[in-house]
Symmetry: C2
Subunit: 329 residues, 2 copies
């Protein structure tokens, strides 16, 4: 029997219905014959939808969890009271089947966090953090960590983010990832108090460190891992998206541009439309959680399941453990 | 006699020679007959250069200050020891002639700061801050404050930044500027500890507040003033530039694009090339200091002198005083 990559999928809690998101899940399972998906949602509706469309039902298992956690729910309350929600049930599957390699959801971020922390277990001593992978022009991707989980950080945490980013980049195939620290200047002495201290700690502990990185050179510089606190990282990520799209939209409005290069413009624009392209990865729990945007469509669901499968197959969590074990203090 | 707008111009300390930068200054004075410029630099060289080219010498006065402060100088030492530098002499002119309305320099940032603080005097109770004005698509500009002067801030300072931004936008012709607070989410409760507290303070004190702004909507949203600490503001500003340029460069590489729309691409690209376009404004001293990038050319010098003239003419400092007086606590 082929070794399976098992993924637990929460199909509810996003803007679009589970019957749309499941299309992406089924596309992923059809393409990748190592993949085995637990599809959590309203079983009756999902079964009818899948049967009506004549989808094959190999390597999928529908888990009945009809309750929905929304953005309006208090995360902790929702976790406590909605035990039959697709999110909580998806996380619970990991307790029954430790072969599950990742959890995928496009639901409410806060509830995903609470549920992951309560149900998936933490990798020893590591605080959970959010990593986002970005495409880079003409080359390997880069990642930003943390993108929003830890908005107030001590400098030591930024060292953890660096280790986590290194492990992640290795899991996606970058053999010797380089680490940069987001700052307001390239020189070591630049930064706010936390960043200045983090620069010293990272320089002392992480040989892959290439120094401070400014906002101008995140997309074009040599660093594969951009380290920052969750507040700055969130500003960075959203500003990259907003500014790239604004500049392209501005160009499109100029006379003749749309007619001449509309298709090329669309292609570049889509690359910077992070919301519908990929997801953020919650790291620090015993299996990674890939969180797609609430506005996800079936394409997003397909993308994030493929990402989850790749991370599970490439042993991301083992790489994280190895990275931290090698650098234990 | 026409009322004069007097500007003190430091022509040295940038990457390019004073003889190149002075071209921009002379262009500005030729175009604007209210303008009177004190040109600080090596008098002998400047006089020869201006005479050789047959420039008119009305409304300019060359101040001999041959010493140069560079980026390698310690700012405080340089201020103390280089009293005959073009920067220090330019600032000193204000002591002799209080009609001077602004100081312009493309020299070393740290030295400009120290010199401004020591020579120009502070507007009561306000910490100096750096404001950058950005063009906005199809409309009025916006500004980011602080862009790097205060990398570690208490929440109260962000309220000052908001007042300063309002005064600035009024001075550039926006009658009722709206204020947004940079955060990692649009909801009031989002932010790091300082931003959450700043949200409450700004909401309580500034009627022009329209709420938190995310990186995705800085360029396209309704806020005319983006308030943030100097670290986040620097990341924001540089990321806007880097991402817009990266996306446009990526598009340019696609087959056929350069030939079809190369000129339009250049036009949009230039708009996001903040370094050579404009300058940052140091606010909080008795006259504003407009600081161009070290890589400034004659066009940059022309642009920042025009900005300085506009701010002086429109009574920026009076507007700042009025804004703070109206909101005194």
């Amino acid at each position: 029997m082929v070794p399976m990559i098992k993924i637990a999928v929460d199909l509810q809690g996003a803007d679009r219905p589970q019957t749309e998101l499941v299309d992406g899940a089924l596309m992923a399972v059809r393409e990748n014959e190592e993949l085995y998906l637990y599809l959590c949602g309203n079983e009756q509706e999902l079964t009818r939808y899948i049967n009506e469309r004549g989808y094959r039902t190999e390597r999928i298992e529908i888990i009945n969890a009809p309750e929905v956690i929304t953005n309006h729910d208090d995360p902790a309350e929702a976790f406590k009271n909605k035990k039959n929600s697709s999110l909580v049930r998806a996380a619970q599957l990991y307790k029954d089947d430790p072969d599950i390699g990742a959890l995928v959801s496009c639901g409410a971020t806060g509830a995903i966090f609470v549920t992951a922390m309560m149900m998936l277990g933490r990798i020893a001593r590591i605080s959970p953090m959010l990593l986002v992978e970005l495409p880079r022009i003409g080359g390997t991707p880069l990642c930003i960590v943390d993108c929003g989980a830890n908005v107030d950080c001590r400098a030591e945490k930024l060292v953890d983010f660096a280790h986590m980013g290194i492990a992640y980049m290795k899991a996606v195939g970058v053999a010797a990832p380089k680490v940069g620290l987001l700052s307001n200047g390239a020189e070591d002495k630049k930064g706010n108090a936390v960043v200045k201290q983090a620069n010293e700690l990272i320089r002392a502990n992480i040989p892959e460190f290439v120094g401070n990185v400014e906002g101008t050179s995140v997309l074009t510089g040599e660093a594969d891992v951009i380290v920052c606190d969750g507040f700055s990282g969130n500003v960075l990520l959203k500003t990259i998206e907003g500014s790239a799209k604004a500049a392209l939209a501005e160009l499109r409005k100029l006379p003749g541009v749309q007619d001449a290069v509309g298709e090329q413009l669309d292609a570049v624009y889509r690359k910077y439309d992070f919301n519908t392209q990929g997801g953020a990865v919650l790291l620090g729990t015993n299996i990674p959680v890939i969180k797609g945007h609430g506005a996800a469509n079936s394409g997003t669901m397909y993308n994030i399941i493929c990402s989850a499968a790749r991370l599970a197959k490439n042993g991301l969590v083992d790489k994280i453990r190895a990275e931290f074990a090698a650098n234990a203090v």
